[in-house]
Subunit: 187 residues, 2 copies
């Protein structure tokens, strides 16, 4: 491996490889479940060398976390409705729709898988959580800048996201009224 | 298999077989993780026939759920301190200690494993949740009978248990102050 290969090239080929590797991970998650495939199998499916994956992501855990984050950002972008109540309601409804859908508990399953994968797993989980928290915090900061009395991101995690995740995880139904109720209680 | 064998005998042998099967499940969970062993392997480890396990528990999912419930009941019995605040604080502190311990996320991991095991998994998860909810509800009912203004079990699940589970799951620390804060917010 020479120095040129180590350099991550922006755009073109790099983006294409990224998309192929992400798709391979999603296929393998759907076919086998988290934790039941290796970097080598992802590489073979995506038609790239193992070393390309290690160079770019460092570990399977970091790659998994990147795939989930990319999906979350695409499916549940942070809303900007002009009011805290509107933003929280929209955000909570998006999360509810996502976690009750077919790939529902992707994030929670990943957190469980990562939490049993030692230090690299913990770091990848932490990274993922930190990134989503930053996004949520900027939505809440916008509300504060408008003069609204906004909670912090951890309050939203504790009292809006956590109850929804745990209810879905335990096989309980979550209705739109229930989700709105969590937001109202917080506001 | 004749009719006599079908009858579940109370006490003696039945209790011994139950304990041996539970221990075999705990050993296999620790060695291989949830979902990575079969009824046949549990039976072999416990020195009983596969049919004894199917007869008594019906499925691997029901057996797993029974093992986890038995452990929870032993490790986190419902407190009875004479006041709602005392009961909730003790209960929350017990749960916090348990989920941050070495076998920490047993219940959440089981819920995740069961939620991907089809109908039998969902029913076993539901059973487990319902039993713990009944126990929690009787603690809250005692407070109501004393004239205290107690939340219901689902409120405790949503705003005390869920935040703790999700924080541990996402690799975040939970301190005694944080746990007390969740209880205070609810009271």
């Amino acid at each position: 491996m020479n120095e040129r290969q180590r350099v991550r090239r922006p755009g073109g080929r790099s983006a294409r490889v990224g998309a192929e590797v992400h798709q391979a991970v999603i296929d393998l998650i759907n076919e086998r479940g988290y934790g039941n495939f290796t970097v080598g199998q992802v590489a073979a499916r995506a038609g790239v060398a193992d070393s390309s994956i290690y160079r770019r992501w460092g570990s399977l855990e970091t790659l998994l976390s990147d795939v989930v984050l990319t999906r979350l950002n695409a499916q549940s972008p942070m809303p900007d409705t002009g009011s805290l109540a509107g933003d929280l309601r929209t955000y909570a409804a998006n999360v509810a729709r996502e976690i009750t859908g077919p790939d529902g508990l992707l994030l929670v399953r990943l957190a469980v898988a990562l939490s049993s994968k030692g230090q690299q797993g913990l770091e990848a989980g932490e990274e993922l959580r930190a990134e989503r928290t930053r996004q949520l915090q900027s939505m809440l900061d916008r509300a504060r800048e408008r003069g609204e009395d906004a909670p912090d991101a951890l309050g939203v995690l504790d009292h809006i996201l956590a109850p929804m995740y745990i209810r879905v995880l335990f096989g309980m139904e979550i209705t739109p009224d229930y989700v709105d109720g969590l937001v109202d209680r917080m506001l």
